[in-house]
Amino acid sequence: MISIDHYAYINRLKHIHPLEKFALSIGTLMVCMFFKTWLLHFLVIAFMSFLILVYAGIPWKAYLKLMLVPFTFLAVGVLGIALTITNTPSIITIGFPVGKWMLGVEKAGIDQALVTFSRAYASVTCLYFLALTTPMVDVIWILKQMRIPRVLTEMMTIIYRFIFVLLETASMMYLSQECRLGYISISRSYYSLGQLISNLFIKSFQRSHELFTALSTRGYSGDIEVLEEEYIYCTKNIRWIIIAEMFFIGLAILL
């Protein structure tokens, strides 16, 4: 139902140690954040896309679709950085007058927009590498290793499981409303969606009660503790990750 989640379980890198994937993804993300060279960003995009498409075996069509997801924000955001409106026309490189004002772009603005654009896209590929190869259960495991408060990981376990239960309920409700023409006009859409959401909320509330009862029958007494999977490190992978990161940092400093 959620494509990223689906690929996280069927990709070819699923069985790699989650911390190895996490280190590669976050390490490269950090390098991208701290160095502003577009060439480096470009290399990261190529490297991560290569890993995702070739090693993990994610279909390129699906990957391309995902690359379009952040596009709206990026387009609007980058435009916002590049554009300048000013009454001192001297700083504008290209532009046109709007009344007494000048609207256009300036050199510094374009530079910053380009850097932000390439940094954001490079970072997104790093995020995708993690998200597309690492099932959420493993991500939660990583967070547990990082000793974040237990309440958070316990909540995450339940949230993750019930996202799918509630999504199914919500989509059935939506379909049944659509069968009865519930989304025929804007005003009826509001009414129908309002109905759907309030019912979904009530259902969530009931489900939480039922879940509590069900867990109680298995001896729940305040802590949601489970047995952790055991993962095996691969020294070869770790060596490659270190080499990749050194390469990117070295490149960034040289450029």
Binding site: M1, S3, H6, T169, M172, M173, L175, S176, Q177, E178, C179, R180, L181, G182, I184, R188, Q195, L196, S198, N199, I202, K203
Partner: protein
């Protein structure tokens, strides 16, 4: 000539992620009949219903309504959804209003008809579904069987010509199931075409005029119930059980081959009459 209310030609439906839920599906429902659809979970029964009323848009193939191919224009779609009603398996996903009256009025109001008419349609639907006394009750306090009836009234209020019922007896106890099946018979006698998907082989054998077997998103077999449910090959390949009436009948046949000349018993009563004649 046989009149078909809905027909499809090589219908295909794929979800956005590419999973094909219906493949090359050709099916035709005869007007005014009681039709059963059987097959394992995940065979595509629910998806088929949603595709036939236009909520899911077919990715390939054609759908005909009263012999006319349907396009996906807004007005036509609206009419299709009005004419082809779907009663969902779990009433809890269908019912969401505070009172039964409000609930049943949801469809007619969406059709944009005047209030008086809406009220009339709702009352007629409540009477037909025999739940007038529940009119002002909140939907979430009803029993499973009552909820089911409300969810059927929901659809009746829109005055459909075909009603698809998705496993209507899945969540209710046997007595309520029995009552519901009688109710579906009544609706059929009023001229509505009833299509029912179910796992209950014994009930569908007795009830249906015609049976489709679905498997992996397409029609695997079709025919009269007494043909389909005596065909070992079909039953095996579609993981279906044999109705017990047929099982008993076939055991009887073994001992008394002359029974073959009499018609196959279609109901419990017919079977028992046969046994008593022995």
């Amino acid at each position: 000539m046989t009149q078909y209310i809905i027909q499809t030609e090589e219908l295909e439906f794929a979800y956005p992620d590419g999973t094909k839920a219906l493949k090359n599906l050709s099916i035709a429902f005869e007007t005014g009949k009681k039709i059963g659809i059987v097959g394992p979970n995940g065979a595509g029964k629910t998806t088929l219903f949603l595709t036939l009323n236009g909520v899911h848009k077919a990715t390939k193939g054609k759908i005909y309504y009263h012999g006319q191919p349907i396009s996906y224009e807004k007005k036509e779609l609206l009419n299709l959804r009005k004419r082809v009603g779907i009663v969902f398996q779990d009433p809890n996903t269908q019912l969401f209003s505070a009172s039964v009256f409000q609930e049943v009025s949801f469809g007619p109001i969406n059709l944009g008809i005047p209030k008086d008419e809406v009220k009339e349609k709702v009352m007629t639907a409540l009477i037909k579904a025999d739940i007038v006394d529940l009119k002002d009750r909140p939907t979430h306090f009803l029993s499973g069987g009552q909820k089911k009836r409300v969810s059927i009234a929901d659809i009746l209020a829109m005055e459909p010509e075909v009603i698809f019922l998705d496993e209507p007896t899945a969540f209710v106890d046997p007595k309520t199931s029995e009552e519901l099946m009688i109710f579906f018979d009544q609706l059929n006698q009023e001229g509505k075409t009833i299509v029912l998907s179910t796992h209950d082989i014994d009930r569908v054998y007795t009830w249906a005029d015609y049976v489709f077997v679905m498997k992996d998103g397409s029609v695997f077999a079709e025919g009269l119930p007494e043909e389909i449910f005596r065909n070992e090959k079909i039953l095996n390949e579609a993981d279906l059980q044999k109705p017990w009436i047929i099982e008993v009948y076939e055991v009887l046949l073994k001992g008394k081959p002359h029974l073959q000349e009499l018609p196959i018993p279609k109901s419990k009563q017919e079977l028992f009459d046969l046994i008593e004649k022995l």
